[in-house]
């Protein structure tokens, strides 16, 4: 994934879409695409795999986005929504509730940036949470493999746990590899040899 956020704006009215694009461009460097024809909307969005989709709450095509959200998992693509009348408390509540939505007045360009900020902040938070979760999971997996490799070395060479780890680390340093990778290779080849 690149660092530039890609944004799709679903807005049939060009006069409304352009100011939004302008205010986004002023706010930062984004890859912005406007969809004005809702025909094949799901396919158009799927092809571009945007980070953020902006759509007017009054647009009936919003239900199509719901399908995309189901298909890709709820945290995959935040959708910021625009509504004609609302207040700050409502927006805060929406975000507090964990909804990937920020609800503001109409499609006023001046309001788009904060909306997007919120959507992005949300997106990054989800991203961080997902990364953290993936990292934690991987660390746990690696520790399990290292423990198994240590056990094999202890058994084969008649050494204690501390020495087994020293042997493993030395092998890793010699081969210029991570301890976890050497451990995985050992466990794998032991499996092959039965």
């Amino acid at each position: 994934m690149t660092d530039t956020l890609s944004i799709i704006i679903v807005e049939p009215d060009r006069d409304r879409a352009l100011p939004i694009v302008d205010s986004l461009r002023a706010a930062g460097s984004f890859d912005i695409h406007v969809i004005s024809d809702p025909t094949w909307l799901a396919r158009q969005i799927e092809e571009r795999r945007p980070d953020v989709v902006l759509i007017d709450l009054a647009n009936p095509s919003r239900d199509i986005l719901e399908e995309l959200a189901v298909a890709s998992g709820p945290l995959e693509r935040p959708v910021a929504m625009f509504v004609d009348s609302s207040d700050e408390g409502l927006s805060a509540a929406a975000i507090e509730a964990g909804v990937s939505a920020y609800v503001v007045d109409g499609m006023q360009p001046s309001r788009v940036k904060p909306v997007l900020d919120a959507a992005i902040a949300r997106f990054r938070m989800f991203q961080r949470m997902r990364t953290e979760l993936a990292e934690t999971k991987r660390a746990l997996e690696e520790r399990k493999v290292i423990d198994r490799a240590k056990g094999m070395i202890m058994k084969a060479r008649g050494v204690d746990e501390g020495e087994a780890y020293v042997i493993l680390r030395k092998a890793a340093m010699n081969q210029n590899k991570r301890v976890a990778d050497v451990a995985a290779a050992l466990v794998l080849s032991a499996g092959l040899l039965g």
Binding site: A42, A58, R62, D63, I64, V70, V99, A101
Partner: protein, 393 residues
């Protein structure tokens, strides 16, 4: 008496009738409430309006609150069904090319045999079939999955289901984005009227008594505003009773046709209310029993077993735990709220809160709290009976 205002979101569909009638015919006023009916552009927006408190209650697809309870889709705030608003009322239609192929293959559009219609449809679409439904969590989608999945396990292999908002269904089939649809009225009839589709089946041919729309409220609101909710459930129940009178149909069609509701010709709307549908641009008509029910057969009773069926179906489609999901779905259908609201009216309520879904081939009489309750046929086209998980009264 000063009236308390209750804001209610609705989608412009024929089955919003109980809400419109409760307001227009004074059933709400009789209960000392004033309904502020707010038309919503999409199901996701109606869900958000309800979640964020912009409305107190909403016309909602029966599977939506169940999906939220299962953590599927964008809903976050727990929502419950205080009452069922309508049973059935959906139609399946195909584009004119498929209709022509079906006719030349000898299909008679009898409109009552889901097996033969489904088999003929699969045979007529060797290159795949794209079906439009209004929402990922809708009875339309569930019925299509159940129907075609039962006939040939074909759903996964060659059938793809797409979300198309009802008002855009006619355009979508005309533009070739979809080959067929399952949608609530009046949108099937509108597609026939525009000459872009022929109706193949009513949803009732798949499941004779499918809960279609529910009266949705936030579960916290149901607790804090239980008195108001009781008034709302009673007003809507009386509106349903009025709608079930044949004499009411043309007036109901007139009310719904108004600009602030459906903004369509009353003639189109009346087809669903009378169950007499025009299925093709040739003008062929079909009379469908139980096409759309608002009252008869205790249509508005939120059977826990209906919620369980939905939960079970969603679990199968989304790889969730089936028993846990069915239980969670059943808990969304709040028979306790319904009973509390209607306990002291003339309504005769069933003793049980669950029933074997699909277990009633004929009109049947079951024990009521006072006397007996007459239930309508509720069978599935393949004869499967879904036993309730539990029967808590």
């Amino acid at each position: 008496m000063r009236q308390t205002q209750i804001s209610v979101g609705f989608i412009p569909l024929v089955d919003a009738a109980p809400l419109v009638v409760a307001h227009e015919m004074g059933f709400a006023a009789e209960e000392g409430i004033a309904l502020d009916l707010r038309r919503a552009p999409s199901w996701s927006s109606i869900r958000d309006m309800l979640s964020f408190g912009q409305v107190d209650a909403a016309h909602m697809l029966a599977p939506m609150p169940v999906a939220t309870a299962l953590g599927l889709g964008g809903g976050m705030t727990p929502v419950v069904a205080g009452s069922v608003l309508s049973v059935n009322g959906t139609v399946i239609g195909v584009n004119t090319q498929i209709a022509a192929r079906l006719r030349s293959a000898g299909h008679n559009f009898a409109f009552d045999d889901a097996y033969s219609a489904g088999a003929a449809l699969i045979a007529a679409t060797p290159d795949g079939l794209r079906i439009g439904v209004p929402f990922p969590f809708s009875m339309q989608r569930a019925l299509v999955e159940y129907w075609l999945g039962t006939i040939g396990h074909a759903v996964r292999e060659k059938v793809t289901i797409h979300t198309v908002p009802p008002p855009l269904m006619v355009d979508a089939i005309e533009a070739g984005e979809i080959d067929a649809f399952c949608v609530g009225e009046p949108w099937g009839s509108m597609a026939v009227e525009k000459g872009v589709a022929t109706l193949l089946l009513p949803g009732a041919a798949i499941w004779k008594f499918a809960p279609e729309k529910i009266l949705a409220v936030r579960s916290t609101w149901a607790e804090t505003e239980s008195v108001l909710l009781g008034r709302l459930i009673r007003a809507v129940w009386r509106a349903g009773r009025w709608l079930a009178e044949p004499a009411s149909q043309s007036l109901a069609a007139e009310l719904l046709s108004r600009q602030r509701y459906l903004d369509l010709s009353p003639e189109i709307i009346e087809r669903a209310l009378t169950g007499r549908l025009v299925i093709s641009s040739r003008g062929e008509e079909r009379q469908v029993p139980q096409f759309l029910e608002f009252f008869d057969g205790v249509a508005t009773f939120p059977w826990r077993s209906q919620g369980e069926w939905i939960g079970r179906h969603l679990a199968q489609q989304h790889q969730l735990d089936v028993t846990a999901s069915a239980t969670a779905g059943g808990a969304v259908f709040r028979t306790d709220l319904y009973r509390a609201a209607l306990g002291r009216t003339s309504a005769i309520l069933p003793v049980e809160s669950s029933k074997p879904e699909g277990g009633m081939p004929e009109v049947s009489s079951v024990p009521g709290m006072t006397g007996h309750v007459s239930l309508k046929p509720d069978t599935f086209f393949d004869g499967t009976v879904f036993e309730p998980i539990q029967d808590n009264r």
